[in-house]
């Protein structure tokens, strides 16, 4: 089985978010980067599949050279080789186009992604890649088992789960608890550097949108504590002060 796992290089979830250049650029100063948490689960599931039934795993990232430590972490976790498409991931369509281009003639049985990136939270790259490659795509995949050429999937839907089966190849957007979170071990870390990390140029792609600016949510307002005995006070505040009722 050949698995392609697409990973993002995103600020650690505890980072303080700020912008520069007139709110058009993310301020990366002092920010620690990680593999996108959903992508991390995708990598972990790929490694589990490799361990249980044999597979080769390629990780791909669309990004500049600074994403390489993140890519090597995926190699340390258990991927066999990696591709970095050397471009700024400018928008979801651009990224999907790059991934599809790398995947199109390579015969991957499975293309695993995260359910969504945690920086821009588009949740669309898997769909676009599936469309571009003319293969199915499913997302919010919580369980993924492979039996022969058929995948058995459980996906999260509003208020419950949906069970589906489909044939490979396809694209899946993964989330927990699809796999046990994997921490790279010493052996993996020591061998990561000797695994191939191929850098390829991007293909030309149209830009379908243009960034205007970012805006941070307004700071949290003051909190009022209300005694549970005085519900009428709460209702009145919600009605008259917060004006949400």
């Amino acid at each position: 089985m050949k698995i392609l796992v697409c990973i993002t290089h995103v600020p650690d979830t505890t980072s303080r978010i700020a912008f520069t250049d007139g709110d058009t650029k993310f301020d990366s100063n002092g920010v620690q980067y990680i593999i996108g948490p959903y992508d991390d689960y995708a990598v972990a599931r790929a490694v589990e599949l490799k361990e249980s039934q044999g597979a080769t795993i390629t990780v791909v990232n669309v990004g500049r050279v600074e994403t390489e430590p993140t890519i090597r972490k995926a190699l340390a976790i258990g991927a066999d080789d990696a591709i970095r498409i050397n471009a700024e991931p400018e928008d979801s369509y651009f990224v999907a186009k790059q991934i599809a281009n790398v995947a199109k003639d390579s015969g991957y049985d499975l293309i695993l992604m995260g359910r969504e990136s945690i920086d821009f939270n588009g949740g669309v790259v898997h769909g676009i890649v599936g469309e571009l490659l003319e293969i199915p795509s499913v997302s919010s995949v919580m369980k993924l088992d492979i039996d022969g050429n058929v995948a058995k999937i459980a996906r999260e839907i509003e208020g419950g789960k949906e069970y589906i089966e489909l044939e490979m190849p396809f694209v899946a957007g993964c989330q927990e608890p699809i796999a046990e979170w994997k921490i790279p071990n010493m052996r993996g870390i020591m061998t990561a550097r000797s695994k191939p990390l191929n850098v390829v140029d991007p293909v030309d792609t149209d830009h379908l949108d243009k960034l205007v600016r970012f805006e941070l949510p307004p700071p949290k307002g003051d909190i009022k504590m209300i005694d549970p005995e005085h519900m009428e006070e709460l209702v009145s505040l919600l009605k008259n002060e917060a004006k949400v009722l």
Binding site: T14, R16, G30, P69, I183, N185, M186, I189, A192
Partner: protein, 600 residues
């Protein structure tokens, strides 16, 4: 007139009389990508396996839990870091080994168990074992299949380790020793499969060391000790009753156990220091987050100067301690490399390198554990009432911190050791203390140097302050040796004063060298907070040293001599006015803005 000379080859203890080039020290900002990944693996391991179970670990209700966690750490490879690849480990240098316990330093009881196993429980075999012993035990220790403990302390023999009474007598057929005695405070005792035991053979005056498997029989133990902190760490009294130890399990040579114990403690101490720094960094981050969140009088408490003071102090001391710890670790690694290049056998080279820097190891043990205690104490204070709540994190941090000043040699013993080792080296001619001390004494009677021409270059003033601090140390140690001669050992109060000066000097210098090197890498404008922390630390180091120095002078000298020394001290500890308040505010504001201890 300069007493301090330039040099490139680094020798242990020499920092006192020589100046170090910033380019020659290792700084934590230089960790490689791989080392950072290993660091993160440790942090992830804590997040996944340890933090969610801290209460469960501390309750000790499930005796399998700690060995199970150790097994998981073993699977990740974390137990074999310093063991060569041929025995299933990764053969990493000391600094990387230290970095790992730094990363795990916020792991409470877990890091105690892991450190005891990988350090004092494994290294005696690695450094002193013969090939057969290494082949037999190291792979199992590296994988975690066997867990180990170190049995030195006894009810009547703690700091005075060589007073141990445990005996080993050779059987009539000469195939094994019968071991009898009682050990106390044995970390990992409850679940260890392997014990490094120190005992005296027959009527020997000096200890020998043995590798004892639990399966040898004749081993019983008391219940778990009820402790103030590190409650999840197994601590037992262990009894040996005719425990049959095969003769081939004698470690190294008969009568060499005390030497083994002392040398192994050198590594134990420097690793304990790095682990303490990891704990301190974590406490600072927890405190900073709380200071940002907790509101009183309509403001977050981090906006109050009194809280900023604490945060900045915690960070400056931790930063300085960290600078010195990895400077030391790297120097030990460099010494090791050079001995190996000269053809020395690796295990021997490790030991010699550690011995060379034994003074620094003792210094760092004291400093790291006291910084952690300071951070834990102020951490509780920043949390206010919540600091005292057993449901909030500072309670555990506070209780768990305290042990570090006691084990691996109490801080008193380590303070005494620093000066004792230094004077012994001077006596043997390995370090020239007397020459520089005499020069300083002469300088006292000469016209004061106003130092106008020296104040040039990066940190010229700070460097001068450090040189002077060292001069003050030399002046007082010289006078103390002359006055008390052989009886100086009885003047522990003065030795403690000298140790404090030595510690402050080494740590402040290390912080200075780190910032100087960092500025070379990142530019001055990107290191302003580090510069502030270094200056805060240096200023306080000089103040502290000046206070203890005065005490020492009062005790050593009288009349004119005393007056002259006090004048010298004043000259040597004169600092230019420095607005500490503003510097601390800048440091604290930076921490609050980053919402963590952010100097990586």
């Amino acid at each position: 007139m300069e007493t301090i000379e330039q040099t490139t080859a680094i020798m242990g203890g020499e920092f006192l009389i020589k100046e170090t080039e910033a380019s020659t020290v290792f700084i934590p900002e230089e960790w490689s990508e791989e080392q950072k990944m290993i660091f993160q693996t440790c942090k992830d391991f804590l997040a996944k396996e340890v933090y969610p179970r801290l209460d469960e670990i501390d309750s000790q209700k499930d005796p399998e839990l700690m060995p199970e966690l150790m097994g998981k750490a073993g699977k990740l490879g974390l137990l074999g870091i310093s063991i060569p690849e041929k025995w299933g480990g990764y053969g990493m240098d000391l600094n990387t080994t230290m970095m790992i316990v730094d990363a795990l330093g916020s792991g409470h009881s877990f890091v105690v168990a892991l450190s005891a196993h990988t350090g004092i429980g494994t290294l005696p075999i690695l450094y002193y074992g013969n090939e057969a012993q290494k082949d037999k035990y190291l792979p199992k220790l590296a994988s975690g299949e066997m867990k180990s403990a170190y049995c030195l302390t006894e009810p009547d023999s703690g700091s005075d380790a060589n007073a141990a009474k445990t005996r080993a007598t050779l059987s009539e057929d000469g195939t094994h020793y019968l071991m009898n005695g009682q050990k106390m405070w044995i970390t990992n005792g409850g679940f260890a499969d392997l014990f490094i035991v120190f005992a005296k053979i027959e009527d020997d005056k000096i200890l020998s060391a043995f590798i004892v498997e639990k399966s040898f029989g004749g081993i019983t133990m008391n219940e778990e000790e009820k402790k103030m902190g590190i409650k999840g760490s197994s601590t037992r009294q262990i009894f040996f009753n005719d425990c049959k130890v095969p003769v081939e399990n004698l470690l190294y040579d008969r009568g060499k156990g005390f030497k083994i114990a002392v040398n192994i403690l050198n590594v134990g101490r420097i690793k304990l220091a790095s682990s303490c720094i990891g704990g301190s960094k974590d406490i600072i981050t927890t405190a900073v987050k709380y200071a940002n969140e907790r509101k009183q009088f309509g403001k977050s408490i981090g906006e109050f100067g009194a809280i900023k003071y604490k945060l900045a102090e915690m960070a400056s001391r931790t930063f300085a301690s960290e600078s010195a710890v990895y400077r030391t670790g790297s120097n030990i690694d460099k010494a090791y490399d050079s001995y190996v290049n000269e053809g020395m056998e690796p295990a021997q080279a490790r030991l010699k390198a550690l011995e060379e820097f034994a003074i620094e190891c003792a210094i760092m043990k004291v400093h790291g554990s006291e910084v952690l205690d300071y951070c834990a104490d102020e951490g509780v204070q920043i949390f206010g009432g919540m600091g005292y709540s057993a449901d909030a994190p500072m309670d555990r941090a506070y209780r768990d911190s305290r042990i570090n000043r006691i084990f691996e040699g109490t801080n008193e013993i380590n303070r005494l050791l620093t000066i004792d080792m230094l004077l012994k080296r001077a006596m043997k001619g390995r370090i020239d203390l007397m020459g520089p001390a005499m020069k300083v004494a002469k300088e006292l009677t000469s016209i004061p140097d106003f130092g106008v021409s020296e104040d040039e270059g990066l940190f010229a003033k700070e460097k001068k302050a450090l040189r002077n601090l060292k001069k003050a140390g030399l002046m007082i140690s010289g006078a103390a040796v002359q006055k008390f001669m052989q009886k100086l050992a009885d003047e522990q109060e003065i030795l403690m004063n000298l140790a404090d000066m030595l510690i402050e000097g080494y740590v402040a210098e290390s912080a200075l060298l780190r910032v100087e090197k960092l500025i070379g890498l990142r530019g001055e404008e990107n290191c302003s907070i580090q510069t502030d922390m270094m200056r805060i630390y240096l200023y306080e180091a000089v103040e502290n040293a000046s206070r203890v120095a005065k005490e020492a002078i009062y005790a050593i000298a009288e009349g004119d001599e005393q007056r002259m020394m006090l004048m010298g001290l004043k000259r040597f500890t004169k600092m230019e006015p420095f607005n500490l308040k503003e510097a601390r505010r800048r440091v604290a504001n930076h921490l609050l803005d980053k919402n963590e201890y952010s100097f990586k």
